[in-house]
């Protein structure tokens, strides 16, 4: 036995040291502060479905930890090995992966690429080859899952008229009857002139062909000192929409000695009906579009919001009868009376407002009339316990 003492001692130390380290590290998970949504007034039931996502960074560390704040308090993402490996796809994608494991193989985890209704789950993406001179070989990859019989229809189709295309991205996928609509943003290059347009490709699923395609919003501009931005207003990805809402912003590019600035010229809101292919410009004369931000679209109503001092002014606008509803304002408060970084969403006729900063208001209101149903604040559960410096930044709001 004496011969073996060094060996046995080393093994013992290894087992004890590494064992203790891993046992104690699983026992005492990192202690993060607990954040809660404190009720100030109203019914706390209203925030039950509300989830605020953000990241927490302590002053001591460089790495932030993602967390979710709900009415039950805060939960931090575990940074276990398996979680890191799987990554954190959006909740919608995670659901798809669990339900349709085979179909979801090899699909990019981007919500924009998916469409879902009761019968179908569709996916479309585009790929192309980058060359030193220009991009080429633009191809759509399309998959449609029939939920009833589980059959998967996958095909690849070349993007038509892609000669001048520089870049293309799929912004939304919609399906009406037997047609699949891909709403894309296309960047074309003509010599040195780049222009961007919202484009729609209609694909017949039965014969797997692109039956039609057209530019919804054309941005050919005469002057070289203006720039046009096109943005598709996002809606809930899992709901079918016959209307698309597109915001077109015209900007004047001003080149100074030191910098390049952009000045707002004009903004247009365009509604496009997928079925009738009708295009309509939404004109709301009483709303100054450079001040009002188009915040949300729920299928029939567009909500414009504008921050006026400490108040958020909300104007609902119905695209069915082209009529702006009565504007209302909601008083908000933030750190040092400073209100910014608003996160808003609307679900089932309720407007949810939160802020990216700590100690700012969380408000739930009736989306039509602005009647406040709940008012609260994101705060530390026990601020006396927390002496460390930290930063909390919330960046996403969603309602379950």
């Amino acid at each position: 036995m004496k011969k073996y003492w060094k060996f046995i001692a080393t093994i013992t130390i290894i087992v004890l040291s590494i064992g203790t380290f891993y046992v104690s590290s699983t026992m005492s998970a990192e202690s993060h502060p607990e954040f809660v949504i404190k009720t100030i007034s109203g019914n706390a039931e209203e925030i039950k479905p509300l989830v605020l996502e953000g990241s927490y960074t302590s002053s001591m560390s460089y790495v932030g930890t993602n967390l979710k704040v709900t009415s039950d308090g805060s939960t931090y993402d575990s940074r276990s090995f398996l979680d890191k490996l799987i990554g954190q796809p959006p909740t919608v994608i995670k659901d798809f992966q669990e339900k349709y494991r085979t179909f979801m193989r090899g699909k990019d985890p981007l919500v924009n690429y998916f469409f879902e209704n009761e019968e179908f789950l569709a996916y479309a993406t585009v790929d192309y080859r980058l060359d030193s001179l220009r991009s080429r070989d633009f191809k759509f990859h399309i998959s449609v899952l029939n939920k009833k019989d589980g059959s998967i229809d996958s095909f690849t189709e070349e993007v038509p008229d892609s000669g001048e295309l520089e870049y293309i991205s799929v912004d939304d996928v919609q399906k009406v009857e037997g047609e699949l609509y891909l709403i894309t943003r296309n960047m074309t290059r003509n010599n040195d002139n780049f222009s961007e347009e919202a484009h729609i490709y209609t694909i017949n699923i039965a014969n797997q062909k692109i039956s039609d395609h057209e530019a919804i919003v054309d941005t050919t501009n005469g002057q070289s000192d203006t720039r046009i931005n096109v943005r598709l207003v996002e809606t809930t990805p899992t709901e079918a929409n016959n209307h698309l809402i597109i915001v077109k912003t015209e900007l004047k590019v001003i080149e100074d000695m030191e910098s390049i600035r952009e000045e707002f010229i004009n903004q247009e809101i365009i509604s496009y009906n997928l079925v009738t292919k009708e295009k309509e410009t939404i004109d709301v004369p009483e709303l100054r579009l450079d001040e009002n931000q188009l915040s949300f679209f729920d299928g029939s109503l567009i909500y414009f919001t504008r921050l006026d001092g400490q108040e958020l002014v909300v104007t609902p606008y119905s695209i069915v009868d082209n009529h702006a509803g009565k504007a209302y304002s909601i008083k908000l408060s933030g750190e040092n009376g400073h209100v910014d970084g608003q996160l808003t969403t609307i679900k089932d006729g309720k407007l949810y407002i939160a802020s990216s900063q700590l100690n700012a208001d969380v408000v739930v209101a009736d989306a039509d009339k602005g009647e406040i149903l709940f008012r609260g604040q994101v705060t530390l559960e026990d601020s006396s316990k927390e002496t460390r410096q930290f930063e909390l930044y919330l960046h996403e709001i969603y309602v379950k």
Binding site: F7, T10, I13, S25, T26
Partner: protein, 277 residues
Amino acid sequence: MRNYLKLVNFEFNRVAKLFAVLLSFTFIVQVIGVIVQSKSYLNMADKKIYEEFMPKAQFLESFGHMSFFQIIRSVWFLGPIAICIAGVGFYIFLIWYRDWLGKNTFIYRLLMLPTTRLNIFYAKITTILIMTFGLVAFQLILLPVEILFMKTMVPEEFRSDMGVGELLTNMPELSIIIPGSFVELILYYGTGLLVVSVIFTAILMERSFRWKGIFAGLVYIAIASVIFILPLLLQEFVLNGYFYPVELLVLEIITGLIILAASIWMSRFLLTKKITV
């Protein structure tokens, strides 16, 4: 089994001196590092507060608290770790070549032992593994001791304390050596073991066929590397992300085990049939 353990013990005793040197080097340099870093922070604080009459609060605001993080990121701390890694890497080769290059060719006696020759292979790879884990374990013991050292030197109001776990999560470089979870530890060091077994096989090829063996060894290493990353390459370029990450992990583990088995089988063949003294 008995023979294997005897051989491991024997091999371990042969490396014990080098091992002890690495351990004491790490200990001495890291502790000096703690002292030097703490002292330099304190000297700076002294200078600012007592000579330049800077208020303590302002000093803390502009220079920050002293934390063990500053020590961990210094050469004093990382240098010894690098030396230890280099030491182990060097010994992977030396563990075989010292048997041939010594005054009397020791390998002759080893090969004559009344046990399967593969036990020599197992014993040597175990020794490398024990050495590596020994260094990791020592570092884990050393960390709290060093933190204690810093605590005795720097007064509390200038200090912000962190636990060992917190230090490691904020130091990605270190979490390769000491991963955050036990599963990762197994995976990382399992991969290490695989690499060592492939290198051992290449060394045995060289010992069997000399010059031609060097070539064969390099080819073997290349083939093993390609096979090991083959699932990843297929996933990326042929299958367009067909597998989910977890499935890919399982595939990688299986591929690793196959390469390990191939290395052991090849080494057994070389040790019993081809090795030259």
